[in-house]
């Protein structure tokens, strides 16, 4: 009796201390494919940048809009989703003592579904049957198999989400009265958002499939756009919440500090989960069919997301200052010098945070109706999400990869790889400053997004944009160097770095930390509140769009 207990205990210790090998295989697969997708998507981005600057003509068998569709789908949908699932499944495995066997199986099925879906989507794009961009606004109509591919991707996401819920619920059952570990709390929030956020777009795609097969004749254009953005905007915040999880939980440990506050961190997660979904309307500020009043109400809904981000900004710098002072820093800003600038696991997410100051400010400006009208659908917007997603999120993901991949592959991040990582981070940052900076500026001047090289018949206004577009191409070129470096680093850490143990850094609480209130664990209540906010934001506008709908639109294939 005692012996089996002892054995069970040692098993548990092993699980907590080391990596669970079966789980690691799953999560490494997610990450490996994510970085392959990054490489392909990166090259597609380079081709666009060069074309946009007038430096490169794309072949007719794979034109600018095919390139753009593939770049968007691969990086915005596939890379981020694969990384997010891989990272959070690894986090669940690490903090909850391993994945349940059935959850691991669900992880593999989810992976398979996503790959099948991406194969459908990629094939239709390459064949030229789906040059509809990743937003696929009807009445442009892609091949039905494009939409069916999307359904597979969404099903994969749902399976992964429910796997996570099962694992978390199981842990809670076995640890009554305890708070779930902070990283698992973040994972729960992200998967809740992934599930509820994707419901709208699923309804849209299920309406588009019979239309694409020709079984229905017309489609409601505005309804489709609105359902799409109920998902599109949530997705942005899902990546952001994923990045933020590493800022709160991992970065403090990496710099030798402690968590800011367990309770306030959970409050930020809860707020981001509840407030997120109605933000989608700010993508439709100059659309017809939605009244001025509703657009204004949605300014409030969008801006409310800034509140938890303000909390995060405070928390991050508070942790940096506390840690620096504990290490003996003096004066008002002396703590700044005590931060581990030579450690890429810190440098990459730090730059990501700084980028969010600019990205967040730009986002707040864009959310306000009249200001949005100035920049809507210009390159400003492309610049905006390359700084938010491309730096804030992706640089944090890279920062995670430097320890997560060797942790899973039982290898080590060598000083040489760390140095290469620092170079990678700097090249990426400089590339993005060039690219995103020139996009913002030329967008203010009126240069449109999602448009291949054009002088509009040598129009003087359009010609005056060219110098900025050239800077954009320089940025894109630097970025592809950084992408190749990152790809090399990721696969080196997976297969070739020296064998060893790498820590999964999880920050601990301060010794005198306040206890976290029990109510933070009431996920049922948070989901009800999420649905209530969605209902407040969407029910009336959707009803107006449906009830006052014009006759539907027949399909068009304009490419």
């Amino acid at each position: 009796m005692e012996l089996t207990e002892k054995r069970n205990l040692s098993k548990k210790i092993n699980r907590v201390a080391g990596v669970h090998l079966d789980d690691a295989r799953l999560n490494l697969t997610y990450l490996a494919v994510a970085f392959i997708v990054l490489l392909i998507g990166g090259f597609l981005g380079l081709f666009q940048g060069l074309n946009r600057a007038g430096l490169m003509e794309l072949p007719s068998w794979f034109d600018y809009y095919q390139t753009l569709t593939a770049h968007g789908v691969l990086l915005i949908l596939v890379f981020t989703t694969l990384f997010t699932v891989g990272y959070f499944y690894a986090s669940l495995s690490h903090t909850l003592g391993g994945l349940l066997p059935k959850v691991r199986k669900m992880g593999w099925i989810a992976f398979g579904m996503m790959i099948v879906g991406v194969a459908f989507v990629a094939t239709t794009i390459v064949m030229g049957d789906a040059s509809v961009l990743y937003t696929f606004y009807p009445p442009m109509q892609a091949s039905p198999w494009f939409y069916i591919g999307l359904v597979f991707v969404v099903l994969g996401i749902w399976i992964a989400a429910f796997g996570a819920f099962i694992n978390v619920a199981n842990w809670r059952k076995n640890h009554r009265g305890k708070h779930i570990p902070l990283l698992a709390f973040f994972a729960t929030g992200v998967f809740v958002l992934l599930f509820f956020g994707s419901l709208g777009v699923t309804v849209e795609v299920l309406m588009l499939i019979p239309w694409a097969f020709g079984w229905t004749e017309t489609v409601n254009v505005m309804l489709s756009r609105t359902l799409f953005w109920s998902f599109g905007h949530t997705l942005v915040n899902i990546w952001y919440l994923t990045a933020v999880s590493a800022w709160y939980v991992v970065v403090p440990k990496v710099i030798g500090g402690k968590l800011f506050s367990d309770g306030l961190t959970r409050l930020v997660v809860i707020l981001l989960v509840i407030l997120n979904i109605p933000g989608g309307f700010h993508h439709q500020i100059i659309d017809p069919g939605i009244t001025e009043t509703w657009k204004f109400i949605h300014v409030f809904m969008s801006l409310s997301i800034a509140f938890p981000s303000l909390m995060t900004a405070f928390a991050m710098f508070a942790v940096f200052e506390r840690t620096g002072r504990k290490k003996g820093a003096k004066g008002l800003l002396g703590w700044f010098k005590k931060l581990p600038w030579g450690d890429v696991r810190f440098l990459a997410p730090f730059i990501a945070m700084v980028a969010f100051i600019f990205g967040g400010a730009g986002g707040i400006a864009q959310t306000n109706n009249q200001l949005n009208q100035v920049v809507h659908n210009t390159l400003w917007v492309t610049g905006h999400f390359h700084i938010t997603v491309g730096v804030t999120v992706v640089l944090t993901f890279f920062g995670i990869a430097y320890w997560l991949i060797p942790h899973l592959s039982k290898r080590e991040l060598t000083p040489q790889m760390n140095r290469l990582g620092i170079y990678q981070t700097i090249i990426w940052t400089v590339g993005m400053i060039f690219m995103s900076g020139s996009m913002h500026w030329v967008g203010l001047l009126g240069s449109p997004r999602r448009t291949s090289f054009s002088t509009y018949g040598d129009n003087a206004t359009a010609l005056s944009w060219d110098p900025y577009l050239f800077l954009l191409a320089i940025g894109g070129t630097l970025l592809i160097i950084a992408v190749i470096l990152m790809f090399y680093i990721a696969f080196n850490l997976m297969f070739f770095a020296p064998k060893g143990e790498t820590e999964f850094p999880i920050g601990e609480e301060e010794e005198n930390a306040m206890s976290t209130p029990k109510w933070t664990e009431r996920w049922g209540l948070w989901i009800v509140m999420l649905l209530a906010i969605v209902a407040m934001g969407y029910v009336v506008p959707l009803m107006e769009i449906i009830v006052n709908a014009p006759p539907g639109s027949p399909p068009f294939r304009t490419w």
Partner: protein, 155 residues
């Protein structure tokens, strides 16, 4: 769970700025009539030519220094293609699409509106400075999207 005093001040100032930006936006939108284009009139997207407004697109003088420009957008052009107006006039654009979603943007002005099939979109602008203004479609609409442009000549 208590917040640090400094965090409270930070959040209060932050929220105050957000509220202020909303007040400005609301004031401009509802008191000054600067709200973004949000017209809710509809039409049958397959019968644009039969619609009384769009059967004859063109530039119409509707008052002293006031013009209405009725435009249809289609892959990959604007109808009419030639728009000329005197400097100092107030111009009301009435827009719809014959096919897919288009964008109506005039570089150097705040004119920016989505033109979706089935809806009549409206946006107004006063043109004070003479010159040639570039009009372009800023929503991807197909293989020739980058060619979809025209100009407004203000004399």
């Amino acid at each position: 769970m208590k917040m640090h005093r400094a965090e409270e001040i930070w959040l209060i100032v932050g929220v105050a700025i957000l509220v202020l930006s909303m007040v400005f936006t609301g004031y401009q939108a509802f008191a000054q009539g600067m709200a973004p284009p949000s017209n809710t009139e509809t039409l049958d997207p397959q019968k644009v030519d039969e619609h009384p407004l769009f059967s004859e697109p063109g530039v119409f003088e509707i008052g002293e220094n006031e013009y209405e420009v009725v435009l249809t957008l289609q892959a990959f052009s604007f109808t009419p293609n030639e728009i000329e107006i005197p400097a100092g006039s107030e111009v009301h654009f009435t827009l719809t699409s014959r096919d897919v979603v288009h964008g109506f943007q005039v570089a150097g002005t705040n004119i920016n509106a989505m033109v979706t099939p089935g809806y009549i979109q409206r946006i107004s602008q006063k043109f004070d400075e003479p010159g040639e203004y570039l009009v372009l479609c800023n929503e991807y609409c197909g293989a020739g999207h980058q060619l979809m442009a025209t100009t407004i000549t203000v004399k």
